[in-house]
Symmetry: C2
């Protein structure tokens, strides 16, 4: 019981900070994505590609969270042009709104159009922490099994878009696209899906268009 | 500060329960593995194969943890012969020693040789919770990227064996076996490695032999 009370308190403090982030980003008309997935689903590869393409059209910011190392932030800095801030959680299994608040202090918010937050690779804990984003986008890869929406329902329920990555590896496992979509719909009837391969580039155009549309809607 | 104190208290209660489990299993000469990995690395597939082969030689028990659904437990019951107990954590991101204590009450410990605990798919949180096992075994698949030991060091530091699964997919990504081993050694110089494919069966014999050896050592 003490534990539940304690967790409620932590989450309500987080919600307060997340609301402040959301208000600030909204006033500045910055569209914000909280990118979540298992370890190794391809969040960083997806961002590398996206920064390369969209960085030529709009001003991008990125907060890259890792339990340890700044590898992802380094990879993404190499992708060029984007304002990148690493967060090393030092063991914590998720980003929280306090970490994001601190990272944002350092960013040129007055000129950003689109802000990505790359969460820690974890399909459980990050689902409970609102970071002030407009939408959560969950990445799942075809090598992980098509039952993941059923086994980690919290994340799929709270996401607006599911990206199915590594479609170049379809046929190398029992994973079926139709089944992962069906399982996802059971959990969240409003969840959109985009299938792509960060390796070959197949399908990525739909993702860029999806982002462009959200960014222009936000500007209105 | 309050938060850290609170977490310390939870962990010390967990350690107390884990020590009791370890003592009980040790007196009964049951070898116990805590199997950890990202979602979709292949823990359940590995167990399906292992139960099929080892179930003919020794008495196996299995505790299968999932955030939601009893899918894994159902798959493993279908693999036959083994005493399977599901734990549905209802949102919790890891198993803890209390859940294992409760699951064990229901198992015929007097006749088990080997007990598997399949943890929740999560490379972060389960590393902090001792379940009374003899060893943690971490599964990583070749589709997840060879930097995982560096990014999730806690889990690789506390594991005795790293299983590299999905070697049938080597060459379909930038993943390199030599590099994942080198990264793992940086974190934990004592970590053993076994490479295999649950899909094709390649390499699984070494895993069975590894288990057989541990089980006979425990019996002495």
């Amino acid at each position: 019981m003490a534990r539940i009370e304690f967790e409620k308190k932590v989450l309500s403090e987080n919600d307060r900070l997340a609301a402040a982030i959301r208000k600030d980003l909204s006033e500045r008309k910055i569209f914000c994505i909280n990118l979540v997935s298992s370890p190794g689903s391809g969040k960083t590869s997806l961002l590398e590609r996206s920064l390369g393409v969209l960085g030529k059209e709009m001003a991008l910011g990125l907060i890259a969270g890792d339990v340890q190392t700044e590898n992802d932030a380094d990879r993404l800095k190499a992708a060029g042009g984007t304002m990148v801030r690493p967060i090393v959680t030092g063991g914590a299994c998720h980003l929280d709104a306090r970490m994001v608040t601190d990272a944002l202090k350092d960013m040129p918010l007055e000129r950003l159009d689109l802000l990505f937050i790359e969460n820690v690779g974890n399909l459980v804990c990050p689902s409970s922490y609102d970071l002030g984003e407009d939408m959560k986008v969950v990445v799942i890869s075809t090598t992980e099994g098509d039952d993941k929406p059923l086994k980690y329902p919290g994340m799929f329920r709270r996401s607006s878009l599911m990206i199915v990555n590594k479609i170049d590896l379809l046929g190398h496992s029992e994973f079926q696209l139709a089944r992962v979509k069906e399982n996802a719909r059971t959990i969240n009837g409003d969840l959109e899906t985009i299938e792509l391969s960060c390796r070959t580039g197949e399908g990525t155009r739909r993702w860029y268009d999806w982002l462009r549309q959200r960014v222009s809607q936000k500007r209105v």
